[in-house]
Subunit: 400 residues, 2 copies
């Protein structure tokens, strides 16, 4: 079997050990992991199979995590996971989208087969692919189990990256830099938005000479014109016009590790309003980054940002950023630490955040973001793209 798990067996075993320690602290005998990023983190499994229920089972009673998934995906699991041959428990295809059977019935059977059904079981209650019905079926099939919410248990372990994870994120940083350069080259009046997005996506997947790109967890968010006033719109089938603003929020991705980056561009002459906003946002981002160091709190970063923009009369009700790393659609964020008031997490070396100063002002908007790593000396910003509103075509002098 050609086992191609990305990290060393030791790194995976360390992660599983950490999960078991967290389980012990929470009094859990068994953990049912359904978040695809957490499954990948603990086992290496990488496939676009999360559109059907799947899970791994972690327990001190098991020497290795047990993978449960669809029959046609078991071979892919064996190819990408570090565990030994008998750790794979595929379910038959008649469980898929059936009116009578549910894959979680099978997960329950596997748990029973290991006699893990009488203890305290952790489930990721708020994970994307753990549906209300998935939980209900587990409850029905395992009447003697006591269930507990363990939604972010593994996510919190992911918060501090290993040096090998950092290496992948830096490779992704090189990719997103190129993809952003591409965006700034192809966005011009008269070009179809879809054609510009096509070139950006191409650059994301081509990657660099060093490494090819993996698919990011989010497609390019590239709204233009009035649509820049909304946070999560994609391109549409229209041609850019002179005067358009375009937001570009993208990521590079290597082995599922992300480095996001956002900038805005204007085709032609920016309005004084937008230009001023961009200068305030750039100053706010720089000021926020300056206070990053081990021991600072997550909320400190946002407070520094708010001080700047409030001085200029602006307001941003949404958080300034979040922990980022390994992930699958629909999100590259890790759902643990947010850069916002009230989040008292202490920053520590090898945490990685996407600080995104997105101003969505209903009718117009602007984004400047940076992905940064906390290092002993303070902050390491992972990309070098100019921190400004990009002005495309003549007159370019306005943006300098």
């Amino acid at each position: 079997m050609n086992n191609v798990a990305i990290f060393s067996r030791e790194e995976y075993e360390g992660r599983v050990r950490a999960a078991k320690q967290h389980m012990e602290q929470k009094g859990l005998d068994t953990l049912i992991v359904t978040d695809p990023a957490n499954i990948n983190y603990l086992t290496g499994y990488d496939g676009w199979s999360f559109y059907v229920p799947q899970a791994i089972i972690v327990s001190p009673m098991l020497t290795e995590p047990v993978w449960v998934g669809r029959e046609q995906d078991a071979f892919g699991a064996r190819l990408t996971c570090w565990m030994s041959e008998n750790a794979f428990k595929p379910y038959a295809d008649y469980y898929v989208q059936s009116e009578v059977r549910h894959p979680m019935d099978y997960v329950a059977q596997v748990i029973q087969s290991y006699r893990l059904d009488q203890g305290h079981l952790g489930v990721e209650m708020d994970a994307y692919y753990f549906s209300a019905l998935s939980f209900q079926r587990l409850l029905q099939a395992l009447p003697e189990a006591r269930f507990h919410d363990a939604t972010l248990l593994v996510n919190w372990i992911r918060l501090i990256k290993s040096d090998q994870e950092i290496r992948l994120i830096k490779q992704a940083a090189n990719i997103v830099t190129r993809a952003m350069d591409t965006a700034m080259e192809v966005i011009r009046a008269g070009v179809r938005e879809s054609d510009a997005a096509a070139e950006v996506l191409r650059a994301q997947i081509q990657g660099t000479e060093e490494v090819g790109g993996d698919y990011p967890a989010i497609v390019p968010l590239m709204p233009s014109q009035v649509r820049t006033g909304a946070a999560h719109l994609t391109w549409i089938d229209r041609r850019y016009e002179p005067g358009d603003t375009v937001n570009i929020e993208i990521a590079g991705c290597v082995q599922r590790y992300h480095c996001p980056l956002a900038r805005s561009a204007v085709i032609g002459v920016p309005s004084p309003q937008l230009l001023e906003l961009s200068q305030v946002v750039a100053e706010g981002v720089t000021t926020a980054l300056d206070i990053v160091k081990p021991g600072a709190l997550a909320e400190d970063v946002e407070i520094a940002w708010q001080d700047v923009i409030q001085r200029y009369g602006y307001h941003k009700p949404s958080r300034l950023g979040y922990s980022v790393g390994l992930n699958y659609p629909p999100d590259w964020g890790e759902h643990t630490v947010s850069l916002r008031r009230g989040d008292l997490t202490e920053l520590r070396p090898n945490m990685v955040f996407h600080l995104i100063a997105g101003m969505w002002l209903e009718g117009y908007g602007l984004e400047i973001s940076e992905t940064f790593r906390v290092v002993p000396e303070g902050v390491e910003v992972l990309t070098g793209t100019d921190r400004k509103l990009f002005v495309l075509e003549e007159p370019r002098a306005l943006c300098s």
Copy 2:
């Protein structure tokens, strides 16, 4: 407000009317829709915001569906939905990924504000983005409501497409044809898999001169070599080698409507084993398509296929296909009708299916698929790509 909902107001109102009829049959007073495709189907809402909880509320007591989502997405909702200004109920950003608040608490408040909390409420228990915790929070916040599973209620309405939906799917068919042509042009020995995937994705988004491409719900599934034996692996960072087999499963997408297509290719001379398999699979697909007509059953299509491949000694344990159309990541399938034994759904005009003959034989594999529309006369196959194993580079004569 620049309302850009794709279909006419009448089409949306007809869809909502159909949903209310189905609700009445099930005794539901209110429906909480969380599946992004179902939200889009009933309202037009289109944004990559499904990574946070969102919902629309449908009830005979409401003249229009009510959209509930994140504050920063409300403007995008107003831009893309057909409803009037007061149909949008955004929640504050502090509900997002919070340890104390949950967006479903806010959904519950909105339901209470319309006095809909004492009746029979339908929820999509097995929809991707309706987590176990989402349901638990609704249960806690709406103690007087009686909840019922309405998972596929809207999906079943989507099964039969309008002519305008068919038009979009046919545009997507033209896109996937070009993208598959691109795959066959760029896959060569020495090329990086990621570079080939980049060109395919570019073609998917460029679209045609007629229409730009939207992002498909699944990235190109393009495993090579031994990885073709697994169903859902993507490209990796290696170079193709002479003799490699590559599976290519992709879709064109227009306004979220998909036309999938899968083919396999071999670089150089295919093994006699693979060549024979491809001929059997092509014959099986053709035979299965031949029996499609209004009144035939979904299972008839698979039985016709099985008859052919069993005659040659092959076996495919997984279903042969599924209804397809409007969707978001992680799946373009509609989760209603499957082409498999036991599915007794009668085929009717303007149903659209992805018939995918995927043979994943642990170590090697092959895929040939067709997306077809049921028409009064029988079947309309939506793409014209040769139904064969593609042989790339010399000697090409082997594939003719």
